[in-house]
Amino acid sequence: MGYFNKTQRDPLELVTIIPDEKPHIFIKKDSVCIKECENKPCTFYCPSRVYYWEDDSIKVLYERCIECGACPYGCPYDNIAWQFPGGGFGVVY
């Protein structure tokens, strides 16, 4: 089976999230994303599409996070710092 595209469906249409006021996800060094990371896997392995690539840097929409826990481990350059959002915030299934 060959390569297939990301689905166009919005992953968050069925999800309730109460975003914290302050972000809980950070890119450690923007330069790593630009210079070292060729494929930007965070833009596809993230199940709720928190990350996207624009104007030479990864943008982080922390408000979209469903706290699956994958991103800090999936980044091949260990360049994502992730922590829990504040108590009572974030995803509510």
Partner: protein
């Protein structure tokens, strides 16, 4: 809350934490249960089922308890090797599993965890929701020695306790901070996404060949996450279906797979589509499962602290929630002993570690280690086994115009063309072991 002191504080109100809290509260210990979500279960995901035998040890005849949000009693368990338009199916249906004491019940965690936490509250545990524990508090016990003595909440409040039980789940922030757990590699965890789809109970029963209240689960390998190793699955709930897809994170990341894309593709498979036809998606969720296995089991106890459940990477094959409950129970027993002695050092709490090491699942995890190493080396095994078995199926069941002997030779030839026979044999053996068939 600032100056409160408890016998134990439990971080995380999932199956592990609630079991620990419930059991300790029943033993008349004072317990604080800390949950970062608005309510227990609101951030949690399972396939999935709870296993009756372990859960009955905690709450005997739990299925009789009022308002318990059980979905269906599982009588039918199948594993499908799924290819593009075909499937080799293995399975078992047993009517006995549909009668008390049952075997497994499907649950939805956003209902079940909340109910379960209520049982701990009724037993006397104090639940604090919307509370994020950000650090541990230490107490000096000697010139060079210290013990964990509570947790600091976001905002600065401190909850003191003789013992802290970390039941904080897969991410395990505090367990790592305490130096008890090493960082996992992406090939040591799986990432799953799930959709819950509403479908009337009668249609579920018709479609899955069930009597009223009975349930089925189908695990599928091959197509769902091809070309990586992973699994798709369908579980029947009361009036909804749980559909999951996921696999090893290194493969999802490395092979350019998008979890939601995998889910959509899986739902569109001709043999899956007919099972979920007309069902309306109502929830979408995702979570990692720590799969570090035996070699990555964290340090389970230290002075004043115990780690349980997913935080302790207590995962063996398909089993996780029941191991969470059992380790929660073990921890509660050890804390009760420690409280009776009024000593909370590592050597006293080590009785927890001994209980874990003496358990059936520890043996299983030990046995599972070689399978994991194999899959890390041979990422295509699932896909190849599935492909070969389905080709075999098509050939075997085809009513053609050749002699049996020439058919057999053709089948062998195709198998040999795919890869060396010895490798195929190994793939099948390790694959079946990995998926819990052997």
């Amino acid at each position: 809350m600032g100056n409160d002191r408890y016998n134990a504080v439990v971080v995380g109100a999932g199956p592990a934490g609630v079991t620990a809290a419930l059991s300790m509260a029943k033993n008349n210990l004072s317990v604080a249960l800390i949950e970062r979500g608005k309510y227990p279960g609101c951030k949690n995901m399972t396939g999935g089922t709870i296993a009756s035998m372990p859960f009955s040890q905690i709450l005997p005849e739990y299925w009789k308890i009022k308002d318990i949000p059980l979905e269906r009693r599982i009588v039918s368990d199948e594993l499908w090797l799924l290819d593009n338009d075909s499937a080799v199916r293995m399975g078992f249906t047993g009517k006995k599993f549909g009668m008390a004491p049952y075997n497994k019940h499907t649950v939805l965690r956003y209902k079940f965890d909340r109910w379960y936490a209520d049982q701990a509250i009724k037993a006397g545990a104090k639940l604090f929701c919307s509370s994020l524990a950000v650090d541990l508090v230490y107490h000096k016990t000697g010139p060079l020695a210290k013990k964990v003595d509570g947790v600091i909440l976001e905002g600065g409040d401190v909850i003191h306790a003789d013992v802290v039980i970390l039941a904080e789940g897969a991410q395990a922030a505090l367990t790592q901070k305490a130096g008890l757990r090493k960082r996992l590699k992406p090939n040591e965890m799986t990432l799953y996404v799930k959709e819950v789809l509403e479908l009337p109970a009668e249609r579920i029963e018709d479609r899955f060949n069930l009597e009223r209240g009975e349930g089925a689960s189908i695990g599928m390998i091959g197509f769902p996450t091809s070309p990586g190793i992973g699994k798709g699955g369908i579980w029947t709930n009361k009036d909804s279906l749980s559909v999951i897809v996921g696999g090893y994170l290194n493969q999802i990341s490395g092979k350019g797979l998008n979890p939601l894309g995998l889910l959509e593709r899986f739902k569109g498979h001709p043999l899956v589509k007919r099972l979920i036809e007309g069902a309306k998606p109502i929830k979408y969720m995702g979570h990692i499962i720590p799969k570090g296995g035996f070699k990555k089991i964290p340090t389970l106890v230290d002075d004043g602290i115990i780690v349980v459940g997913d935080a302790a990477e207590m995962i063996s094959g398909r089993r996780g929630m029941d191991l969470a409950m059992i380790t929660g129970q073990f921890a509660a027993e050890s804390v009760a002993q420690a409280c009776a002695l009024d000593r909370y050092s590592r050597d006293i709490l080590a009785s927890y570690e001994e209980r874990v090491k003496g358990s059936f699942f520890y043996q299983n995890m030990k046995k599972g280690k070689s399978t994991e190493a194999y899959f890390n080396k041979h990422q295509d095994s699932d896909f190849l086994i599935t492909k070969a078995m389905n080709d075999f199926g098509y050939k075997y069941f085809e009513q053609n115009l050749d002699s049996d002997k020439s058919n057999l030779l053709k089948m062998l030839e195709e198998l040999i063309n795919m890869q060396p026979l010895s490798k195929s044999a190994k793939d099948v053996l390790f694959g079946l072991q990995n998926w819990g068939v052997l």
